[in-house]
């Protein structure tokens, strides 16, 4: 993986992902290792995402590296009209690796073609966010002891949720059975289902979350946004049927864990937080280990 960019979840092979997850376990056991001393990592956030940026910066700091960059396009030269390509070429001179988030789709791929250093995509609009996917895989492995042969439910906005798309594509390597729960209007796009079909895996579609809770190992919740509906009345009608409450979990399997990319709005009731099956806060912490593993591999330090 040395000197390679990670833009899209399909850029790396299954073996390469497993290698990152294995390394992440190593960083979870020993998070503080000064292997990045003397290295500079740039974090270029053309749109704000405090959670993701802090996770990357924490990863770099724990490895002993230095961070440069900006957290908002208004403070960068982009606000003076500089092209993305020029910004990336300039920052390539100052850093060994660039982590970028940008609202425009495909911006990270383009950046990886003009940069002289590797790029890690930390989100390009509605397109890709591969490190979220990696940390989700890590969390599934951590909670289930395996990635193979699991029953995984995705709940909420499956049409526009990029996290769901990347996770589904990544999980097709592991003989997953997919349970897809969404309003009629927000079903998983056929371009993503194509990946499931190619591997001849099973998937089931539902509109009622209660139908899947007792049969799955992972319940992956996502937010449903009002603006995704062409008919606002339809949103009003369905919004409360995709909220998970503690009482709904009474008959769930012991090994079930609930994940969510965060931030949540109301799709997981607060009374779920105390349930040992709730795992979304630990999931966020795993982001640091996975990013440490990824950065160290790309820089060729492990």
């Amino acid at each position: 993986m040395k000197n390679r960019s990670l833009v899209s979840i399909t850029d790396f092979t299954k073996e390469e992902y497993l290698r990152i997850l294995e390394l992440a376990q190593h960083f979870e056991r020993n998070p503080i290792q000064k292997i990045l001393e003397g290295y500079v990592v740039a974090t270029l956030f053309f749109e704000p995402s405090t959670r993701t940026r802090l996770s990357f910066e924490s990863a770099v700091n724990r490895l002993g590296g230095k961070v440069i960059g900006f957290s908002d396009a208004s403070v960068s030269s982009t606000s003076k009209g500089e092209s993305l390509a020029d910004t990336i070429r300039t920052v390539s001179n100052y850093s060994d690796l660039i982590v970028m988030r940008h609202p425009i789709e495909g911006s990270a791929r383009w950046a990886s073609e003009v940069a002289s250093v590797p790029i890690i995509n930390a989100g390009d609009g509605a397109n890709q966010h591969p490190t979220q996917c990696l940390l989700d895989l890590y969390t599934i492995l951590q909670t289930q002891g395996t990635l193979d042969n699991l029953h995984v439910a995705f709940v909420g906005d499956l049409k526009y949720g990029r996290t769901v798309h990347s996770n589904v594509i990544a999980l097709t390597h592991f003989n997953t059975t997919f349970h897809l729960v969404s309003p009629e209007e927000l079903k998983l796009p056929s371009s993503v289902k194509m990946h499931i079909k190619e591997k001849q895996l099973e998937y089931y579609q539902y509109t009622d979350i209660q139908e899947v809770i007792n049969k799955v190992d992972i319940l992956y919740m996502t937010r449903i946004q009002r603006e995704r509906f062409s008919d606002p009345m339809e949103y009003e009608r369905v919004k409360n049927s995709y909220i998970l409450t503690n009482s709904m979990l009474a008959g769930a399997k012991n090994n079930l864990r609930i994940l969510h990319p965060l931030p949540r709005v109301n799709e997981i009731a607060y009374d779920v937080d105390a349930n040992p099956k709730a795992y979304y806060f630990q999931q966020a912490l795993n982001g640091v280990y996975v990013r440490q593993a990824l950065i160290a591999s790309i820089l060729g330090l492990v």
Binding site: I104, E105, G106, R109, G125
Partner: protein, 154 residues
Amino acid sequence: MSNEGRKELIVSAIENGTVIDHIPTHAVLQVMRILNLEQSPHQVLFGVNLESKKYGRKGIIKVRDKFFDSIEINKIALVAPTATLIEIRDFEVVSKKNVEIPDTVEGFVKCFNPRCITNHEEVPTRFMVVDKENLKLLCHYCEKITKKENIVFL
């Protein structure tokens, strides 16, 4: 060679070069643009609304002293899938072949996604043709599909 073909070749025969025949009549100017013929140093003759036994009306383009490579010519398959490419040397037809939809399309189709980087900065567009039958182009950058009915040429 049919009589029809021979008659046209006589009308404006070229000694050496390429004839692109059976172009849908509305697509002739697009083909000219895709192949950048107006900027080329070669003599170009073209006709639209010509009679065709097979297609009713057709267009034709003749380029003197120019032989296209297959990558170049396959570009026009997107707008003129029925086109035939005829190479002429010393007034004789030396080869005749149909155009084929290419595996990749670079630089002359606009990405349909308004939020794509190629529509925001000067980035040459690039697509993988993921479905040749229904013409679906997967953008190398935003990873969205541009369908046949949404194709716009740059």
